[in-house]
Symmetry: C2
Subunit: 381 residues, 2 copies
């Protein structure tokens, strides 16, 4: 068996920077580009682990912000780690929770040492440091752990972005030192640690971040601090600057992105891994992805529409139920509607990534992308 | 293929009145005694139709009170009937909604003609008559339709119980006349109509109800108006009076009952069919049925309990998840917890009925009942 963390680019598109690859992890080798559904509280909302397997999900993203607060990493460790705890036997990545601390917490205070905030679960004071975030993830045992970082807001003043980046870089260094202390444990399990590139919307800070992070030689790099309200053109610009500085031989993970269009664009820019809450959150709001674009199931036109959500889709929902039945479930506030919709949207994302990988493999990138996005913009008749 | 509605008693227990039987219906033959999960709004709350199949559910109970209000029987008819609408291909029984009108509706008014109430969905005035209730069920196409009845409250004065019973008997007669008008349609589909025995807690009224209903010669009889707050001993007395007057060759359906103990008792009294909202409602409240009795998953002792809910259970939940994980899902308000719990409770009820049928088949009723209820009362160590 190959060593955990080994990443191989197996094919590159002849146009653009899209690449096909595989990443060896303790719970299996994943094929990139890939999309990871989010399971912040150790469950992809509304779906069972069997649902995820059936949809072809390769890896999921959980979050230590939530798991540290409830049930706590000690309980999960005693129960055999996060995979066993949640009954999911494929790879897991855990985010360090930096983004959640800054976006969700009351009373948060940041210092060079770490972050302090009030637990929304029980009101107690919680401290996260680069070191304890590594320690928590050692206990949770995800395949991929993430460094603690600060996600700057948008917009952000230059001075704050600079000082925040210095903190994030310092934290990355301290994370790695702590991680390597646990080498004997971690290597036995094969856990790997990714660094996170910040630098707000300043190209030179992003380049600086990459330069400094490369010195630490992480097995993979995440790009954070994007998709936080900035315009698409700026997101693309910053992303391109960042990716073009990253080494070819390491996987690149764009955090919290994105839409169907963004995924095509950013795979083309050279991104290998994505996670996003949108497919499941949209599903619960009745916004469903189809080959012809978004379908809003609460629209009254679907009340007696006997067609499946997407005639091109072979998910459990589309094979067994009509738009009319889904419309009824939403109107009746029935939980099954949330699940059938989530199942469909996740299946859609997984199928999208499979088409993207095929487009790279067969070197038909431009044609495949145009066809997919062309159809996606038409709507159903 | 045998004619829909044919009921055969295949074996009787040598002690008590428990019987094993089979009932031929358009969507398949069901084995009795059986338990039917409720799907009031065309979904067993939180579960998919695949979940129901996997649990071995033979038949479900939906409700025209809900379906008439939303989405309406006309939409369901246009979409091919209730089975097609909800993607469930085994038998369905629809309750007439009498109980719901009396327990859930504002502004309800009852006359000899029918009931009038305000729709909780859109505030409009809704009229249900014996005739339109049959008509609605003709459009929904369940295997078993029910007559409109009045479910008297508990306690109930003698005079009201008498006059209410007269109404229910008159409605049964009118229902049958309406049902037989549609013979050509209904027989093609094989739909059958059950009568409902009322009579409150008065033994002579129950006997009168049976006598009058038998004149109408329904293919099956339901017993309504029990489990509405009366003590267990009274319920048992009234049930025994009613069942002992019913003919052996027709199936008997006890509506809205019941607990594990009640099911053993009332199968022994001669009941063949049960439905109850409790297994799924309890599941959503975190009350789980196990071979050792009820387990309240929100209890803090389960936070780090790595055992399955019930080591004797082979449902998806018990085979894949620990009490600790379920505890976490409930504490985190995650929908998956509701579903895994519902799946488990339904599986428990279906297995219970299978054990009950086996006890009759092997003529070990008393021993099987004592063993089951003995263990059920012990709790886990």
């Amino acid at each position: 068996m190959e060593k955990s963390g080994i990443y191989k680019v197996t094919k590159k598109a002849s146009q653009g920077h899209a690449r096909l690859g595989s990443l060896v992890l303790p719970h299996g080798t994943v094929e990139t580009p890939l999309f990871m559904p989010v399971a912040p509280q150790a469950t992809v909302k509304t779906l069972s682990q069997a649902d995820l397997l059936e949809s072809g999900v390769q890896m999921i993203v959980s979050n230590i912000y939530y798991l540290h607060l409830r049930p706590g990493e000690d309980i999960i460790q005693r129960l055999g780690g996060l995979n066993k705890f949640m009954g999911w036997h494929r790879p897991i990545l855990t985010d360090s929770g930096g983004y959640q601390v800054f976006s969700l917490s009351d009373m948060r205070k940041i210092s060079s040492d770490g972050v302090t905030f009030r637990s929304p679960v029980d009101g107690t004071t919680v401290v996260l440091t680069p070191e304890n975030v590594v320690e928590i993830q050692r206990k949770l045992e995800p395949d991929i752990a993430m460094c603690l970082d600060e996600c700057t807001p948008y917009p952000c003043e230059r001075a704050y972005a600079e000082s925040s980046l210095r903190t994030t870089l310092d934290w990355a260094n301290r994370s790695l030192i702590e991680f390597n202390k646990g080498t004997s444990i971690s290597h036995a399990e094969g856990q790997i640690l990714f660094g996170i590139i910040q630098g707000s919307m300043f190209p030179d800070l992003r380049r600086l971040a990459v330069d400094e992070m490369l010195k630490l030689n992480f097995p993979g790099y995440a790009i954070g601090g994007l998709s936080i309200g900035e315009p698409f053109s700026l997101r693309t610009e910053i992303l391109n600057v960042t990716v073009s500085s990253l080494p070819q031989e390491k996987p690149r993970y764009l955090m919290g992105v994105g839409t169907v269009k963004e995924i095509w664009e950013f795979v083309e820019a050279g991104i290998d891994m994505f996670d996003c809450a949108m497919p499941t959150r949209n599903a619960r709001n009745g916004q469903l992805f189809t080959s012809h674009g978004k379908l809003v199931i609460k629209n009254s036109r679907y009340r007696d529409d006997n067609r499946p959500l997407d005639p091109d889709c072979d998910c459990y929902t589309c094979k067994n139920f009509s738009r009319a039945y889904l419309s009824h479930l939403f109107r009746s506030n029935e939980i099954l509607g949330l699940r059938l919709s989530s199942l469909h949207n996740i299946h859609f994302m997984i199928k999208l990534m499979s088409k993207i990988r095929r487009a790279i493999l067969t070197d038909t990138w431009e044609k495949s992308k145009m066809e997919f996005l062309g159809k996606y913009s038409t709507g159903f008749s």
